[in-house]
């Protein structure tokens, strides 16, 4: 009995020694691999992970520095992870910030993001000059900015995006419409939607369950109907949402509903669902971002479609579309690898890498020199780059609570529950409440 106990004891001791040895060996291996600098990048872009990994391998070969791209999805979960990591001071060397400019400002003010201005200015601003200014604006804070951030450029745009109307050419032909002449006025758009409905085609689809899509569509029309100045005055609180011009904006959704223009269930659709609906040729028009080309290619390679600006309501003001950097990376100011991280981002936005990203992910490049390398369908999104705007580059920002009431109100108009006037009044009440704070 005694010898049995001793035997078991010896086996246990041996087990402990073996595990300790394995653990020590593992740590030693890990330390060896860390003797080389490793830059860690956190992002949320599932469609770009393979391309990023390939570029990381190329960079390691060229510069001898290992880059580890870590993907976290969905984007909501990624946002929360970044915030939690900031609180725990465990941010990686490079990270993206999803959200409004206010969120980016908070990260910068807390000292989590490195000011990249001096790197951008090196060699007479060579790096800055090769990037689209509108993409750089995403991470640029100017003198006297609303958030009290020290002026500078804090983010490196990796690509560019804009949100436009896309239409199915095949459905156009089947409905007796000329696919070479998409509607240019809102009245013409309504007429075409009616014709499509007569031929039993579903008209306009978008992920209007997501507030940002409603917001961007409505604000594009607000810029067209009342002009940028008045929109900014509204955000500032000087023009109420009950202004006749805003009522006109809300009424557009009522007009679309009354014309039977919306695809069934548009208010309960997220963007992924709306993309499926368009890719499966169930809807003639979709309001979506430039990233959709890659999505549609995966869902239906035979899809015959073209891009158009949202049809204008009035001629006096230009129509604008939402657009900015699709993804932008920040460098962790506290990272011991900050300098290497900046160098890597510089390399990532160089022509060769940007062309590789265009070819593999079909996104618009952040680098101006690569515009001539983009495929034909993607070039339709670059034709209107001069018309892009984005809340992240505006001087004023709407509060999240007003945005929520705004988007929800438009959903109510689409389902015929509320009138444009009622919604305008509700949004104004929310705005006044926020202004009082």
């Amino acid at each position: 009995m005694r010898s049995k106990v001793v035997g078991v004891f010896c086996i246990a001791i041996l087990g402990v020694i073996l595990f300790s040895f394995l653990g020590f060996y593992g740590c030693a291996q890990e330390r060896e691999s860390h003797s080389k600098v490793t830059i860690t990048v956190w992002h949320w872009m599932t469609d770009r992970q393979a391309a990023f990994e390939e570029l990381a391998a190329r960079y390691e070969k060229a510069a001898g520095i290992r880059v580890k791209f870590e993907l976290f999805t969905p984007s909501d979960a990624y946002s929360q992870k970044i915030i939690a990591s900031a609180q725990g001071k465990t941010l990686p060397d490079i990270f993206g910030i999803l959200g409004k400019k206010r969120d980016a400002a908070s990260f910068i003010k807390a000292g989590y993001a490195l000011d990249l201005t001096k790197y951008m200015d090196e060699n007479m601003g060579a790096w800055r000059n090769q990037l689209f200014d509108k993409a750089l604006n995403m991470g640029r804070f100017t003198e006297g900015n609303l958030f009290g951030v020290v002026p500078g450029i804090y983010a490196v745009p990796i690509d560019l995006m804009n949100v436009q109307m896309i239409y199915n050419r095949k459905i156009f032909k089947e409905a007796g419409l000329d696919p070479n002449y998409p509607p240019v006025t809102f009245t013409g758009f309504i007429e075409q939607l009616k014709k499509l409905k007569e031929k039993n085609f579903s008209g306009f689809v978008s992920g209007f369950a997501e507030a940002w899509l409603i917001d961007s569509f409505a604000f594009s029309y607000a810029f067209n109907i009342m002009g940028e100045d008045k929109v900014m005055k509204t955000l500032k609180g000087e023009v109420p949402y009950t202004d006749p011009d805003w009522i006109k904006v809300f009424t557009l959704f009522q007009d679309l509903r009354e014309a039977g223009g919306f695809a069934s269930g548009v208010v309960s659709m997220d963007n992924k669902y709306a993309e499926q609906s368009f890719a499966n040729e169930k809807s003639a028009f979709v309001y979506n971002g430039s990233w959709c080309i890659n999505v549609y290619k995966g869902m239906n390679p035979e899809l015959d479609y073209a891009v158009m600006m949202p049809p204008k309501v009035v001629e006096k003001n230009p129509m604008v579309i939402w657009g900015s950097a699709g993804a932008a990376f920040y460098v962790n100011a506290a990272s011991p690898n900050a300098q290497e991280a900046v160098r890597f981002l510089k390399w990532l936005t160089d022509d060769t890498q940007q062309v590789y990203l265009i070819e593999t992910t079909l996104n618009l490049p952040a680098n101006k020199n690569c515009l001539n390398k983009i495929p034909k369908i993607l070039s339709q999104f670059t034709d209107d780059l001069d018309k892009i705007t984005h809340p992240n580059i505006w001087s004023y920002e709407e509060s999240p609570k007003v945005t929520e009431v705004f988007a929800r109100g438009i959903q109510s108009i689409i389902i015929g529950e509320k009138s444009p006037e009622t919604v305008a009044a509700e949004v104004q009440v929310a705005k006044q409440k926020e202004l009082k704070k």
Partner: protein, 290 residues
């Protein structure tokens, strides 16, 4: 004696530490955050007292609308879901052929992912190619076909039905376990006394099952009120907030970098759930005594 007492405390120390770290501290931290305006990122927080609670309780109609929606889903779960579970448990409690197979089948919905179940039901309710409209049309009821989740009159009920379908398996298992603990002698005695099936159910099954019913009701309310994933995958809380529930609102507040407000919402919601559970426990004690 003192040494023995010391060693006793030493034994419970790890449990106390874990409880304090993972339950007590987060609770007080949540309360502390609820008294501040904080975006979750900057180290500095602005103390605002009970302003978040005041706004939530007296000015946030969307919050109370989400509470109503959660209550409506809970009502469906308490009635439709639990009645279905009870009927199936009663059927399976009898020595029926392939009873074990039925038990497994009825327990499949609860173990499925909420997101998957939500997407399947979203497809069923779809206005263009949903199976519900397909059958309605085939049965000559095409005039009733619509996009069920986009219609504010039907969206919440549709979500409640999907939730009830997902949840009835839990109630079924608990009720079946309860039914199987009732001594058969009671039924035999009642039968000898001339009680029919209905009377045996009313005078034997129901009284014996009251503790189980109370437990099922508590679990149903807590589960339904905290429903989240299913609704997120079906409607994202839409159309226009008609299917929004408190947990979605808490998540939205966090997404909007309003951590202080989100903490106030979480505390109020937690207090409501604790109050409901407390009332139920009191009722259950009263019923047991009666």
């Amino acid at each position: 004696m003192a040494q023995r007492r010391f060693s006793n405390y030493l034994f419970i120390l790890p449990a106390c530490l874990i409880f304090a770290t993972f339950y007590i501290y987060p609770f007080f931290k949540t309360f502390q955050l609820s008294l501040h305006s904080w975006d979750g990122i900057q180290p500095a927080m602005q103390f605002i007292g009970f302003a978040n609670f005041k706004e939530l309780l007296f000015e946030d109609s969307a919050w109370w609308n989400s509470m109503y929606n959660a209550g409506y889903i809970t009502f469906w779960a308490l009635t439709f879901q639990n009645l279905l579970a009870l009927c199936l448990a009663l059927a399976c409690d009898r020595a029926m052929r392939a009873g074990a197979a039925y038990r497994v089948i009825f327990f499949i919905p609860p173990i499925l992912s909420e997101i998957v179940v939500g997407l399947v039901w979203k497809w069923i309710y779809n206005g263009d190619y949903g199976i519900l409209n397909y059958w309605l049309t085939n049965l000559g009821l095409g005039s009733f076909a619509k996009d069920w989740l986009a219609d504010p009159n039907s969206a919440l009920t549709c979500v409640a039905i999907a939730h009830a379908w997902k949840g009835f398996g839990w109630a079924f298992i608990i009720l079946l376990a309860g039914l199987q603990t009732i001594p058969t002698q009671l039924y035999e005695a009642a039968y000898v006394d001339g009680a029919g099936a209905w009377k045996r159910f009313i005078h034997v099954t129901i009284p014996m099952m009251i503790p189980v019913f109370i437990m099922v009701i508590i679990l149903t309310i807590l589960g339904a009120m905290q429903g989240f994933g299913l609704i997120l995958s079906m409607t994202l809380g839409g159309p226009a907030g008609h299917t929004e529930v408190p947990v979605i609102r808490i998540l939205d507040s966090m997404k909007n970098s309003q951590f202080g407000y989100a903490c106030a919402q979480a505390l109020i919601f937690g207090m409501i759930l604790v109050s409901i559970s407390f009332i139920q426990i009191r009722i259950s004690k009263y019923l047991k005594q009666a």
